[in-house]
């Protein structure tokens, strides 16, 4: 009954969204062991940047009016900017703190950003009309797929490939990978910590902005709470994938998206509201079976 191709596109597009968010979290974790709970707020911030700051009910587009060719790089750099700014203002001073203190500060930072957005934009969700034409269905291999779903899948593939290239081919990428392996050793070998960390935050922020653009196009609304759910899933994907492993984060993101779509499609109606309970039970099972994650980076092996 349910078209397999349709199911595939649904799963891949949701998974792609999760994968990109997970990548953003894994990048920062890799270089400084920080679980950045403010990532969801970066997403919300980038969505709100599209509209004029005001508590009025009707939203007026600000950045959102710019043509796509200008808008995309603009929002991506805005995402990078807020991530770098938060590193500069908060996390730079916590490099020597333990991961728990950093995690709680990232949460506090997210809290500040969220409440600032609430104060500036008001509590009412806002409408955003961003590229509505992307939501027209296209017929592909027997499935009716909104153009946006295809774009999400393609974008994820491009971003992942681009990032892989960056990490493999460039000096910054090499340094980042070295820092993710063993930060102290990398520094001793002449890797500049500030450059690597700033670079990781910039990339992570840009990924948050990409997620923001996709969500804004898909849902058509801006709401301060919109980044939260995605951030949590991404966080889980990062761990399941193997902390510090970028391909692992991507794979786990896709996996969670696919599991979520499959559960929604095949659970009986009465069990469907419990979808997330099944999903998170799978997460626990997955962790118990592979505590170090699906892709174990060399750095995760315990050393004595």
């Amino acid at each position: 009954m349910t078209n397999l191709a349709q199911l595939f596109f649904d799963a891949a597009s949701l998974g792609g969204l999760y994968a990109m968010a997970a990548l953003g979290i894994a990048l920062i974790f890799g270089v400084m062991n920080l679980v950045n709970f403010a990532h969801g707020e970066y997403i919300a911030f980038c969505v709100f940047a599209l509209i004029v700051p005001s508590t009025d009910a009707v939203a007026v587009m600000l950045l959102g009016r710019a043509p796509a060719l200008l808008l995309v790089p603009l929002v991506l750099s805005l995402g990078a900017a807020i991530a770098i700014a938060s590193e500069y203002a908060v996390f730079r001073h916590l490099r020597r703190a333990d991961p728990v203190a950093m995690m709680i500060s990232s949460f506090a930072l997210g809290f500040v950003i969220r409440n600032a957005l609430l104060a500036i934009y008001g509590g009412r969700p806002k409408a955003i009309s961003l590229w509505p034409e992307l939501n027209t269905p296209v017929a592909i291999v027997g499935a009716d797929v909104p153009l946006l779903q295809l774009i999400v899948i393609l974008t994820t593939l491009l971003v992942v490939a681009g990032l892989a290239g960056l990490l493999k081919k460039t000096r910054l990428g090499l340094e980042m990978r070295a820092a993710a392996e063993n930060f102290t050793m990398a520094r001793l070998l002449g890797v500049k910590a500030n450059v690597v960390i700033t670079g990781a935050f910039a990339l992570s922020g840009a990924l948050a902005a990409a997620v923001a653009l996709i969500m804004a196009t898909q849902t058509g609304v801006a709401d301060v709470r919109m980044g939260g759910q995605i951030m949590l899933v991404a966080f889980i994907a990062t761990v399941i994938g193997g902390l510090g492993s970028l391909p692992g984060a991507v794979a786990a993101g896709f996996l969670i998206g696919a599991a979520s779509v499959l559960l929604q499609a095949f659970l009986p109606l009465d069990a469907r509201p419990f979808r997330d309970a099944f999903l998170y039970s799978l997460v626990i099972v997955c962790l118990l079976v592979r505590p170090q994650g699906l892709f174990v980076p060399a750095s995760a092996k315990p050393r004595v």
Binding site: L7, D10, V58, A59, G123, S129, P137, T219, G220, A265
Partner: protein
């Protein structure tokens, strides 16, 4: 008029200084996400207070108000309730949402004080969930769902329905409860499928795939949700090429989110009054103008109206009881059967401090333009056992 003012001036003088004014306590969200819903309704209540004061006050006394911020937080709500009581409130107005208003309303209940939810639409926001002195100014969610079912059956030949429920909050379930009660009772109808989602789901693609897998597109889709989830769902439903008439609860009223789905058509919302200037009742437009004068803009959604209604009803009950005493005012409120207000007749009883039937305006959005197309009152009130399921 002059004599009335004089009389009230004398009565003010005659009374002890503390009792000279009547105090309404607003324990509402002035910050946090609920603020966007509480402020318009509270503003409407204050507009009614100003009107009453201009007409000589209540029991010959002027009404003033005190406010406390619940910060969209349950614990802060309980504290805000105590605070307005400490500041001498004679009745309490609490948040729009049951969960965030109830802690404050419970404090009022302990004092035997009348409390009104600004616009809660859950049956619990009243006797069942707070106590015998608690009321709501709004219309039950189930009435909205039932109105959609009966109206679409009568006016749009809806025979097959699909129910899409957002399980995030209770309000949504109330809408679907009303629809599920009414729709199968009507001639030749069938609910061809149902599904659930959550308001913050990043995508509802698989829910849409299920609708598309039906042999025939349903006549109507009952969408029980609220903004932002509802806007996002509608955008995705239309993007997938599904053209069924989409029915909703009042929560999605307001043109402010329509940009989310440009040129939307076939989208219907039941409301207590039209904010678009085309309500058949002139009083509604008079209010809209008064609201614009007070705040600088027209109401963003119909959720401002219950604030006005509740203050109107409470003042009438106080006038009739001749006292501010909670029990006496409650008794007068419970006597109201089809009491006229600017937004239609309202009734309370000893079982229900809510509207289980009400005249609703039907707003239809066509090519992105909302307009009042009809007015509908359900043929029978929603029974209490359905409300309490």
């Amino acid at each position: 008029m002059k004599r009335l003012a004089l009389a009230s001036a004398i009565s003010v003088l005659a009374m002890p200084a503390l009792a000279s004014d009547i105090t309404v306590g607003f324990a509402i969200a002035q910050s946090g996400w609920l603020e966007a819903y509480d402020t318009p309704a509270a503003t409407a209540a204050k507009i009614r207070i100003d009107e009453i004061n201009a007409n000589g006050g209540l029991l010959g006394r002027q009404i003033k108000w005190v406010e406390a911020d619940t910060k969209t937080d349950r614990q802060q709500s309980a504290r805000a309730g105590l605070q307005v009581i400490d500041e001498g409130a004679d009745m309490m107005v609490v948040s729009c949402d049951y969960d965030f208003g109830a802690p404050a309303a419970l404090s009022a209940e302990t004092e035997g004080m009348v409390s009104f939810f600004l616009c809660a639409e859950d049956v619990k926001a009243g006797i069942q969930g707070v106590g015998p002195h608690s009321f709501s100014g709004s219309v039950l969610a189930a009435v909205q769902g039932a109105t959609m079912a009966e109206w679409s059956h009568a006016k749009r030949e809806a025979r097959t329905g699909y129910v899409l429920l957002d399980t995030t909050i209770e309000y949504n379930k109330g809408i679907c409860t009303g629809f599920d009660w009414m729709f199968p009772q009507l001639d030749g109808t069938e609910i061809v499928g149902r599904d659930t989602f959550k308001n913050d789901d990043a995508s509802i693609a698989s829910q849409i795939t299920r609708i598309k897998a039906l042999p025939e597109e349903p006549d109507v889709i009952m969408l029980c949700s609220y903004i932002p989830g509802a806007a996002s769902a509608v955008r995705q439903i239309r993007a997938a090429g599904i053209n069924s008439l989409i029915l909703n609860g009042s929560a999605v009223d307001g043109s402010y989110w329509l940009d989310a789905t440009p040129d939307l058509s076939g989208f219907v919302v039941p409301v207590q009054g039209s904010i678009y200037g085309d309500d058949p009742r002139p009083e509604v437009e008079t209010f809209n103008v008064a609201y614009e004068k007070a705040t600088g803009s027209r109401p963003a959604s119909s959720y401002a109206y219950p604030g006005y209604v509740l203050m109107d009803l409470w003042a009438k009950a106080v006038e009739r009881a001749g006292t501010l005493d909670g029990a006496a005012v409650t008794a007068e409120l419970e006597k109201m059967k089809g009491e006229n207000t600017a937004f239609g007749p309202r009734s309370f009883s000893q079982e229900l401090h809510h509207q289980n039937a009400a005249e609703m305006q039907i707003i239809e959005i066509t090519d992105g333009k909302p307009a009042a197309v009809d007015s509908w009152t359900i043929s029978q009130p929603v029974p209490l056992d359905v409300l309490l399921n």
